[in-house]
């Protein structure tokens, strides 16, 4: 059934202008050897983004572990309340804006041009500039607590009249840093989207864009609309704090603004951003499932539509995070529920793909594929994603109420956006890392990391959800020994510690295999890949490809493997 949907026996409709040779260059090609500066290569800058993201991941995880240590036992006094508030603020900001955001920007900008058969990004120097702007912004964010206390939560809304009572320049610097980070992200996103629209190889129609690139494009569209709202919000908050204006303080009617505005503005931007950071994880998982199953997805078109569905519907549920929006509450509940439907459809698509591979595929090849590390990461992501979706259903039904002010919120967000999105990023790293850096990660260590990170995440999230049921409020820094919260806190802390250990092993693995070059050489195509990035060397040359195979579907290499005699070297049927 699927093969009939994706079968492209008819030759693609290629615009004449896109054919090679139609715009023959007036210059001799050989004289134009690589005009772009080496510092603007998309694979290099993308790797820098990934490296910076991993560095900030370490920062975020260390902050989280300090919090979990404080909460592991009752009446602990490892950090005081004031330090604890700074810890959760910086942990949230660093994890979302300095880890999840840049890790996908990096993977996207490094992989997308390879997947669509382009030799570079549309604006190479803009990409390089965006990275250094991002790094400056990230440094400002991380340095902010050194100036003065920063303790209002990552939504910058606790206490409610947005930290206006908080003196000092720390929050100001945090806001400016976040503006820079978001601006850099917008520039990268524009670059990637334009690349997909304009630099696709001849024959690679929009419908044939590989599913990971497609997910990056959808996520990019969401970020393009949502991040600027956050830029505007952070900017206005900066104006309030630094220049003494009163948009988010004081009360309307007097000369001031409205304190209720801030959470609405923030969540209108931040809620879609969180989903946009999950979308590429789903795209990467789709790509890995299809490749390791040795076949196309059960329905590639439905997978594309599901991703677009998430991108559209994630704008509908932001009000469920804001306690004061009571009038339209049924709409927010529906909106927050609706976005989960396409995610569920996508998961069904993966399961069907795996089932078909088991039924029709070559048994040994499928077994080998399913035992490979990237596929194991995807299989490990499934329970975390499922738990996150289940928790999200409860959160949606309780829109604006308890589940958004107690630990249920923490558990739900960590299952979806730390758990699933991060595990997806690690899966993508183990899948495409060999392509980018020419070395495979360790198989044995990979399985160890997987057990620790997936198992630890599940424990941690279960502990947090249990705390939600027991109504422990977020931002609680300590508890009595006669509270019932002791057990769940211990479970969450133990889970967090296990995740931390797994991440240490993962980083050592990356350092040893890639930087020290001890990993097995990747070869051009370590996984039996289906898309164009596997049709060049690992690591690819600066200009990515010297030539490309004919592109007749979204999986050109799969076509080649299935009918090598039919397509190789034959003259074009239509020209």
């Amino acid at each position: 059934m699927t093969d009939t949907m994706n079968d492209t026996s008819t030759y693609p409709q290629v615009e004449e202008g896109a054919r090679p040779g139609a715009e023959a260059p007036s210059h001799p090609v050989a004289a134009l050897d690589d005009p772009w500066p080496a510092g603007a290569d998309h694979k290099y800058i993308g790797s820098l983004f990934i490296a910076a993201a991993l560095l900030f991941l370490v920062v975020g995880v260390v902050l989280a572990l300090a919090m979990r240590a404080q909460l592991a036992t009752a009446e602990a006094e490892i950090v005081g309340d004031r330090t604890y508030r700074q810890l959760f603020t910086m942990h949230g900001v660093v994890s979302v804006f300095l880890f999840l955001l840049p890790v996908w920007l990096g993977l996207g900008s490094a992989i997308v041009p390879l997947q669509i058969g382009a030799s570079r990004l549309a604006f190479p120097r803009l990409h390089a500039m965006a990275f250094w702007v991002f790094l400056a912004g990230g440094a400002m964010v991380v340095a902010a607590p050194a100036l003065s206390d920063v303790f209002h939560g990552w939504a910058l809304s606790d206490p409610v009249p947005v930290m206006l009572g908080l003196p000092g320049q720390g929050p100001d610097m945090l806001l400016l840093g976040l503006v820079l980070v978001c601006m850099a992200a917008v520039l990268v996103v524009i670059n990637i989207v334009v690349t997909i629209l304009q630099l696709r190889a001849p024959g690679l129609t929009l419908r044939r864009v590989p599913i990971f690139s497609w997910s990056i494009m959808v996520s990019g569209a969401v970020l393009l609309l949502a991040l600027p709202v956050l830029i505007g919000a952070f900017g206005m908050l900066f104006v309030d704090r630094h220049y003494g204006a009163s948009l988010f303080s004081g009360f309307t009617g007097s000369r001031g603004g409205n304190p209720l505005l801030w959470p609405r503005l923030f969540w209108f931007g931040a809620y879609p951003v969180l989903w946009a950071l999950l979308i590429p994880a789903l795209g990467a998982a789709s790509e890995i499932v299809a490749t390791m199953s040795g076949r196309r997805l059960f329905s590639r078109d439905r997978a594309s539509v599901a991703l677009v569905g998430i991108g559209v519907l994630c704008f509908a549920g932001w009000g469920s995070e804001v306690p004061t929006l009571t009038r339209a509450r049924p709409l927010w509940i529906l909106g927050a529920l609706a976005v989960m439907a396409p995610v569920a459809l996508l998961i069904l698509n993966w399961l069907a793909t795996m089932r078909l591979a088991g039924k029709e595929g070559d048994r040994d090849a499928v077994r080998r594929g399913f035992a490979s590390t990237p596929m194991l990461w995807v299989l490990g992501m499934l329970p975390v994603l499922g738990l996150g979706l289940a928790a999200s259903v409860v959160s949606a039904l309780d829109a604006g109420r308890d589940a958004h002010s107690n630990y249920w919120q923490v558990g739900q967000q960590h299952a979806l956006f730390f758990g699933a999105a991060t595990i997806g990023a690690v899966a993508a790293l183990s899948f495409w890392g060999p392509k980018l850096w020419g070395r495979r990660l360790s198989e044995a260590l990979g399985k160890l990391e997987l057990l620790a990170i997936v198992g630890g995440s599940l424990l941690m999230v279960l502990g947090m959800l249990l705390l939600g049921v027991q109504d422990m409020l977020v931002h609680t820094s300590t508890f009595d020994s006669n509270d019932e919260w002791a057990l769940a806190n211990l479970v969450a802390s133990a889970g967090g510690a296990i995740v931390g250990l797994g991440l240490i092993v993962l980083l050592l693995d990356l350092l040893g295999s890639v930087l020290a070059g001890r990993g097995k050489p990747a070869g051009a195509d370590p996984w039996g890949g289906q898309t164009l990035e596997w049709a060049t060397t690992s690591p690819p040359p600066r200009h990515n490809f010297d030539a490309l195979p004919e592109i007749r579907s979204d999986a050109p290499l799969l076509d080649l493997r299935r009918a090598p005699a039919a397509s190789a070297g034959e003259p074009e049927e239509v020209s």
């Binding site: 334009v194 630099l199 948009l247 030539a547 080649l560 070297g569």
Partner: protein
């Protein structure tokens, strides 16, 4: 002054060094299409996306403006007296600059470098005039930046346009130099078109700001 396409970076062919062997599962090199090179209009599409992002920032500011306005008893506050004279002059200048930048594009399309440069310089002058008048609206508003929420939003909205205008002026200045240097031709002037798109978007920002500040709110 006819224009010649000599820009080294527009519509580059893919460098083929011959150093990277193509590796396929079958192991043999395949003759195939060359890797994608940019289709026409890449800069213009990038600029359009940038304008979309910027419009969302403006949207966030306007959402705050309308939310605070709805909750206020008098809007603008009773002691605010801002004339509509300067904003009207700026609006007329913006419309004129919209036409002049379009003149530049039409000239470039006809490969008429002299007229294109003249149009761009005229547009630059109109832009500088607008920036000057906007500065005047700050200085002569009669209220401070943080006197009240209206004052803050007034300055933020006009400042938002002023920032875009200054960016557009720098952009157009570079583009007019490039036109004089002969970087564009009748069928290759994508960067010029992108600059014009940004200029027109800046004008749209101004029309929005004027509508919000002066048409939807009464001034003396």
């Amino acid at each position: 002054m006819a224009m010649v396409a000599v820009s080294p970076t527009d519509n580059l062919p893919v460098p083929a060094s011959g150093r990277a062997p193509i590796v396929l599962p079958s192991g043999e090199p395949l003759p195939g299409p060359v890797p994608g090179r940019p289709r026409r209009g890449t800069s213009t599409i990038g600029t359009l996306l940038l304008c979309t992002a910027s419009a969302m920032v403006l949207g966030a500011v306007m959402a705050v403006y309308f939310a605070i306005k709805e909750g206020s008893t008098t809007w603008p506050p009773s002691d605010v007296h801002v004339g509509t004279y300067i904003p009207t002059i700026i609006t007329i200048t913006a419309i004129m600059s919209g036409f002049s930048v379009q003149w530049g594009i039409f000239s470039a399309r006809r490969n008429d470098g002299r007229n294109a440069v003249m149009a761009l310089i005229l547009t630059l002058f109109l832009g500088l005039a607008m920036a000057n008048l906007e500065w005047l609206t700050f200085v002569r508003s009669g209220f401070g930046f943080n006197d009240h929420a209206y004052g803050t939003l007034y300055d933020v909205l006009i400042g938002f346009h002023l920032l875009h205008l200054l960016a557009a002026i720098v952009m157009l200045l570079v583009l007019s130099f490039r036109t004089m240097a002969g970087h564009f031709s009748g069928d290759r002037h994508d960067a010029l078109r992108a600059g014009a798109v940004f200029w027109q978007y800046t004008n749209v920002v101004w029309f929005t700001v004027v509508t919000v500040l002066f048409i939807f709110s009464r001034h003396g």
